[in-house]
Amino acid sequence: MNKICLGAACAVLGAALPLVASAQSCNVPVLKVLAQKSLGLTVMEKSLADYQKRSGTRIEISYFGENDRRAKSRLDAATKAGSYQVYYVDEANVAEFASAGWIVPLLKYFPKEADYDDFLPGRRAVASYKDVAYFAPLIGGSDFLFYRRDLLEKAGLPVPRTLDELVADIKKLHSPPSVYGWVARGQRGSGMNVWRWAPFMLAQGGQWTDKNNQPAFNSPAAVKATQLYADLFKYAPPGAATYDWSNALEAFRSGKVAFMIESTPFADWMEDSSKSSVADKVGYARPPAPLPSAAYGHGLAISAVGAKDECTRQAAGKFIAFATGKEQEQARLREKVFSDYNRSSTIQSDYFQKNVKPQILAGLKDTTPVSKLTIWPSPQWPDIGDNLGVALEEVFTGTQKDIPRALDEAAQYAQDAMEHARK
């Protein structure tokens, strides 16, 4: 009997040992996160100490600007340095990172209770590559036409609903140096001037590729769109042809600009009266037809080289679930951050409906139906897009006067990049 008991005890112990070993090996002391600063992450940092205490994992976050963050994560993954276990990824490089195997499919490591399906369908779409989810969204949105309600009322103008009306209104309200009609991103970059130019190109009837999947963004329609985009800088503040998005926002917030098309989360920035001189003076609408509203999303993904073992990936998945969870989105609302929402439950919550300004809610309702991905969803996109960005900046600043030639060269560069990839 004693022998049987001893055998049973050994069997139980033997079965339990792997579990114990697994639990021990799953102690991940540190997770390093390569990120880009956002209001949501700033709020998250306030509860990070609690999370670290609960999970036993210290979280080290390194922040970079958008272009540097992309370059740094690409270098970290491609050289197999693996210094970071969690990358901040966006719609522009998810295809590149996923196709190269630099990030792992997320859902295997994303706790079920964190409810990935609660993320808005648009956010899930931009967070996926070939229908596989790779990141959990932190921020996202589409485009608003930001317009100065007070200036339009004073001039007796209705909100422009077409691109032609917008151009006409920009010219009417342009009165420098007190008010400039327009501001937009001009600085090079796939996420800078190309991002903002792409809806114009698509609106004029242009396409990224032709039916043979060859680059076609040098078509006459694209040339026309580029000419229009460049011409609008005549009605923008001095130097706008090299503005990034933050420069454009600051120009608008300083009260010197009448119209701007920018991403929806920035509406919150306009309404912050401690930093904005145009709080309660701005209206939000869908970009004038036929401009589409450019959908985007940024979020956290698990690095394949930084998180090599299953245990680290699980810890990374748990942290991502925490950083993008329902509680975090509610915490953002409580901190008056109404821009960084990604979940259906957040939008449906009473707090959101009661506290988000009615003009922003109305704008969201207006722009959502025309939201779509406006970039070329290709693994080569960051390379192609950044090169196109330089060509566009040359056009906008006048160092390249020949628009067809600039676009032809950029399209040829894109073709070479694609052929290289095929080889």
């Binding site: 690409r74 050289t79 090299t242 900046e393 600043t397 160092t399 990049a417 990839a421």
Partner: protein, 292 residues
């Protein structure tokens, strides 16, 4: 102490440090040359030897040729600008400011170079801002409104170079001032007794006496100006268009920031290394001959 040629002690002492220096210098150089002969792109795991094809492509690359021109202009403007500003301020202070006021001025003049380059770049970027910058505001007072210097392709490089000259020119002023203080006063007084004008005293007597240290300053600035990446990256990122895109900026864009073409970028780095070694050797020899 040692009988030259009859002891191997110098080799024993020098050998290990020379070996370390050789390894530290040679390994990255050989690795860079090896990379330059391939077609390695960060996005793809494999690569092949393409030998000189990267070099061929560079020769017809419009942006690379533009970057050479921009780098050359940057080098000339910042080196000449810093040295000339340094000399001009030093001569002014030597002539007109004395005692503790001169010491106080030296402390002030040395401050800009103590600022990290990135901080200096941000400060000036904000100052240059046409809507919210102090320079735009000041120029606006006198009726000049279009002051987007960093967005003007014709002015952007010079606007950034001004920041470099502000940092290094003022620092050089202190060095030149201290050098002037070391000169014996007799030759300068003799020239003044012979009715030499102030500029003649410095152009024909004082500065020629400081030829050696001044040439060293020029060389130091030439090497320093090659490392302009941080300043330009923060202020213009190489724009507007490619107006301020220097060779290191373009190599970074191709290798890391833009497309991950590390072999292509490495070819540029190797070319830059060869070109700077040749040019510096040539200038050094010419200067040595001139000094003789």
């Amino acid at each position: 102490m040692f009988n030259r040629g009859k002891t191997s002690l110098p080799y024993l002492f020098l050998g290990p440090s020379l070996l370390v220096m050789l390894v530290l210098g040679l390994v990255p150089t050989v690795a860079a040359i090896n990379l330059a002969l391939k077609n390695r792109v960060l996005r793809y795991p494999d690569s092949d030897y393409v030998w000189l094809r990267n070099l061929e492509r560079l020769m017809s690359d419009r942006r690379f040729l533009n970057a050479i021109e921009v780098s050359a202009v940057w080098e000339v403007v910042t080196v000449l600008g810093a040295v000339m500003v340094g000399i001009a301020i030093a001569v002014y202070l030597f002539e007109n400011v004395h005692g503790k006021w001169r010491q106080a001025m030296c402390v002030l003049l040395i401050t800009p170079v103590l600022l990290p380059r990135v901080s200096a770049a941000f400060i000036w970027k904000f100052m240059y801002s046409p809507l919210t910058g102090i320079l735009g505001w000041l120029l606006g007072l006198v009726g000049i409104h279009d002051t987007a210097f960093l967005s003007d392709p014709a002015l952007a490089l010079y606007a950034v170079a001004l920041v470099d000259i502000w940092q290094w020119g003022l620092f050089f002023a202190v060095i030149v001032l201290k050098l002037l203080e070391t000169l014996p006063p007799e030759p300068l007084e003799a020239a003044r007794l012979d009715y030499a004008r102030t500029w003649q005293v410095y152009a024909y007597i004082a500065l020629p006496m400081l030829k050696g240290p001044l040439i060293s300053l020029v060389f130091i600035k030439m090497v320093e100006s090659l490392r302009s990446f941080d300043l330009i990256y923060v202020m213009t990122k190489g724009g507007p268009g490619v107006a301020t895109e220097t060779l290191d900026m373009y190599a970074y864009a191709q290798g890391i920031g833009l497309s991950g073409k590390v072999s292509y970028a490495s070819t540029m780095a190797v070319l830059m290394m060869i070109a700077t070694t040749l040019i510096f050797t040539l200038i050094w020899k010419r200067v040595s001959k001139w000094e003789d």
